[in-house]
Amino acid sequence: MLVALAFVPSAPLLLPALGGGPDDLRSACQQAISVLDDVERLVVVGAAPRTGRCAGTVDATGWGAPGAPAADPLPLALAVGAGLLGDRPAELYGVADGTAPGLVEGDRRTGLLVVGDGTAKRTEKAPGHFDPRAAELDERVVKAVAACDLTALRELDAALADELWVGGRQAWAAAAAAAQAEVRPGGAAPGGWTGEVSYAAAPYGVGYLVATWLPADLVGV
């Protein structure tokens, strides 16, 4: 049973060994993650070469951090998610194509840390240089996350997202599918979900998004 979701970007600079990122982004991430404090099962979801449960080490040496490389480095998004959680144990789930069988199952109160970000073409100095379509796509995603528009997140244009270097499409689609399953009698969110976006900006030309989803009937009670 899925009871809470937190969305954070998958930027390597959020890894503690690479500086941890700008203060406002880092604190927004930690604040969002705090909605997962009371879950019984915590799962980090992020893009990976293969779909399914994943194990490995948070290893930033590939991105130049000091130290010896681990034998089993995690894919970026899972490493960032696990890195943000620090010592807190979590399952890791990689998503290759947007479907995520078995991501949420059983009665344990489960929380998802959904790691992914938007386009990388927001400005002239962005990693992928400027593309005028980038801001529009990021805005659409921010609105979809804020409104918990599950369909919009599941049906993002994959070709356009790839062209604009979107890093979060697969994880968002998997999270939306898992959230959809709770919108039913007996689900955690029979009345749907309520979203709150706490950070949406592109300080380095990459669309970063930090948000939380909670069951609508719990919010404001």
Partner: protein, 285 residues
């Protein structure tokens, strides 16, 4: 870990800022001879990030005779006032006289920077008595305030290593804390330009002794002769030598130009992996 009278310094490359209470030093030409000017300059270099301040009352080159009494008059009052204004600052005094060393240590200085190869060995005892640090410098076996004339070495680096490590061991034997001893090869002191270049190139041999190495390179004649430039044109040459010495492991740099040196050392330290970049964004966003 470098520590001077209880004050520990970071494990990075370090800057010792030169402040001369002299009317005639070769670069500043008396700019900080007055007490107020010297104190203002010290405030400024501390603000700029200097880790150590080195106060001098006698120019190194030959010139007007300065008595021990006059030297003490120049430096002691500076030490007293700086100690008040910057209680945590590591304060060094550039003197080869044991009597002056005693007065400045009593006033609160932390290091005796003896640039003349210990012509008064009782300086070691004085430093030990106060638990202070000492700089052990190779000055080419010349008396204080003399210039080299046709000095020759079979192997200048070997001579430097033997001399400064010998002085350092004597200092420790006299009771100076081991963590408070620096060695300085003494660029230009008892050396021609090629000697100073050899020491620069072979800094790693000094570092290999295990003693922390102080380098006093700033705007010196060896830089001037390499480039054929006057003291006020020697910044880039000094910084190039600074980078090369820091890369090989020299720890402390005695300098006139604090911000420029700090930037060079910050860059070298990052290349060495001693420190992390301030920003981590490129390719990581």
């Amino acid at each position: 870990m470098l520590r001077f009278r209880g004050k520990a310094l970071p494990e990075t490359s370090l800057v010792m800022a030169i402040v001369n209470r002299t009317p005639d030093s070769f670069f500043d030409q008396g700019a900080t001879y007055g007490l107020a000017a010297a104190l203002d300059r010290i405030d400024q270099v501390v603000e700029q990030g200097a880790h150590i301040v080195d106060i001098g009352g006698v120019k190194a080159a030959p010139g007007e005779e300065v008595s021990a009494g006059e030297e003490a008059r120049r430096v002691v009052e500076v030490v007293e006032q700086v100690r008040d204004r910057h209680p945590d600052l590591v304060l060094s005094v550039d003197t080869y006289r044991a009597s002056v060393a005693r007065l400045v240590l009593a006033a609160g200085a932390d290091i005796v920077n003896d640039a003349w190869q210990a012509p008064e060995p009782e300086t070691f005892d004085v430093a030990a008595e106060y638990g202070a640090g000492i700089v052990c410098t190779h000055a080419g076996h010349l008396p204080p305030r003399t210039r080299p004339h046709r000095v020759a070495y079979a192997d200048v680096v070997a001579d430097v290593v033997a001399t400064v490590t010998g002085l350092a061991e004597r200092a420790v034997a006299a009771g100076v804390p081991r963590e408070s001893v620096l060695i300085d090869p003494g660029h230009d002191f008892g050396k021609n330009t090629r000697h100073s270049l050899a020491i620069t190139a072979r800094t790693s041999e000094l570092v290999a002794t295990g003693w922390p190495v102080l380098m006093a390179l700033s705007r010196k004649d060896f830089v001037g002769e390499v480039l054929d430039l006057l003291p006020d044109e020697r910044l880039e040459g000094t910084l190039a030598a600074t980078a090369l010495c820091a890369w090989q492991g020299a720890r402390v740099f005695r300098v006139h130009d604090v911000p420029a040196t700090l930037r060079v050392l910050q860059m070298v330290d990052a290349v060495k992996g001693l420190t992390q970049p301030v920003l981590n964004v490129r390719g990581l966003a």
